[in-house]
Amino acid sequence: MIEIVGLGKWYGPTRVLTNCSTQVGKGEVVVVCGPSGSGKSTLIKCVNGLEPFQEGRISVDGVSVGDPKTDLPKLRARIGMVFQHFELFPHLSVIRNLTLPQIKVLHRSADEAKEKGKRLLERVGLAAHANKFPGQLSGGQQQRVAIARALAMEPIAMLFDEPTSALDPEMIQEVLDVMVALAREGMTMIVVTHEMGFARKVAHRVVFMDEGEIVEDAPTADFFVKPRSERARLFLSKILQH
């Protein structure tokens, strides 16, 4: 469903991605990990065209992301994205955060959007907070609202950009639980994360990146048991100690 071929990207003269290729099938869950600054976030931001790229191509459900003729907003509406810092709209109530994009982008009626929004808030266990403002919720709750907001668009795939790294430790689990449930329901997901427990539990494949390159792209079990590259071994030994 998502195909990345020979992706290359520069920020001015600095090369940030080099010849990255991978693909994600329908219903597949792929975890992208690697040291910070390795280009993981940049890679998934290229998938929905939030970051432009100079080399290679990406196609999502047959639509080419880099093609200037592609209607990017239309494509993005079909791909959900969850950010490290939640990025809920602080001036809107929780329910408005969920209904606004449905109404403005999918042209759903206000009632229909609200109905859908409430169902999703219930699903992430936050129905009671519908009329609060994002600033009144904890980080974990905000991130769950952000996931619900993305799901309200009925996406064909979800991108997660370090969804738990800005959270206090005791709130990480509640967000991971929602993500695990989503993965088990068959959602196509690309997840940038350091949560190796999550990767072990639900990921079909793990992509390991370092210095802008995809160093390893292996089925989850293989990655943890016998990583091929020295760099991946080193990374795992550091991250699995705690």
Partner: protein, 230 residues
């Protein structure tokens, strides 16, 4: 020292001062603020658009407006607006523009430059993550701006915008250069007719002072009320 002052002149001229003068002053302030914020926001969006075709004219406009004495602008527009009107409407004669309309155009255009810079700061205060999140949901540029960025930018900037409005309120007195009867103009006329310059100017100063001070206080209260919960 006030023994030979006649404060009764103030009481006698109150209806004229407020009904004619203050109405003009407040109406001009309100409409120029409204127009200035709308035009200023458009200019700010132009300046931040990243297209030279839009950024250069907007920047040039703002810099021009901020480098010319305001009184000169008022003069200039008073004589120029009828001809611009003629040019825009293809009429054979210069358009008949009242003093109020002329002032309104001048103040709106002038204040827009200041509101532009305020709104630009406001828009820049919204994190790129907010824009990215809105785009990731499939929103187009106009939707991102009108429902996500501008409402937040505007709320962040309301105190500054209103403070600028208070400055504008005081600046409206500059319309005296084209002999328009605003509040100060009205006071001035009474002062000269009755030879009560000190009393009238003292009173006018007091009125401007009280209104500006009260408005500043109100802005301070408002600031606490409208802050976005984070």
């Amino acid at each position: 020292m006030f023994s030979n002052f006649d404060f009764d002149v103030i009481i006698r001229s109150l209806p004229y001062l407020f009904y004619q003068g203050m109405t003009f002053t407040l109406l001009l302030t309100a409409l120029a603020t409204l127009g200035g914020i709308i035009l200023g926001t458009l200019l700010a969006l132009m300046r931040l658009s990243g297209f030279a075709l839009l950024t250069v004219p907007a920047a040039a406009y703002v810099n021009l407006m901020r480098s010319v004495p305001f009184v000169l602008m008022i003069f200039w527009f008073y004589f120029l607006v009828p001809y611009i009107g003629q040019w825009v409407t293809f009429s054979p004669r210069p358009m008949q523009v009242g003093a109020f309309a002329s002032c309104l155009v001048t103040f709106t255009l002038f204040e827009a430059a200041f509101f532009c810079e305020i709104m630009r700061a406001g828009i820049q205060s919204i994190s790129r993550g907010q824009v990215a999140a809105a785009q990731a949901l499939g929103m187009t540029y106009p939707t991102v701006m009108s429902y996500v960025v501008l409402p937040q930018a505007f709320r962040n900037m309301v105190p500054v915008l209103l403070t600028q409005t208070i400055v504008l309120f005081q600046d409206t007195s500059l319309v005296y250069v084209i002999s328009v009867t605003d509040f100060l103009g009205a006071a001035s006329k009474v002062a000269q007719r009755d030879g009560r310059l000190v009393e009238m100017y003292l009173f006018a100063a007091l009125v401007y002072f009280v209104i500006s001070l009260a408005a500043s206080g109100a802005v301070g209260l408002l600031r606490r009320h409208i802050a976005i919960i984070r």
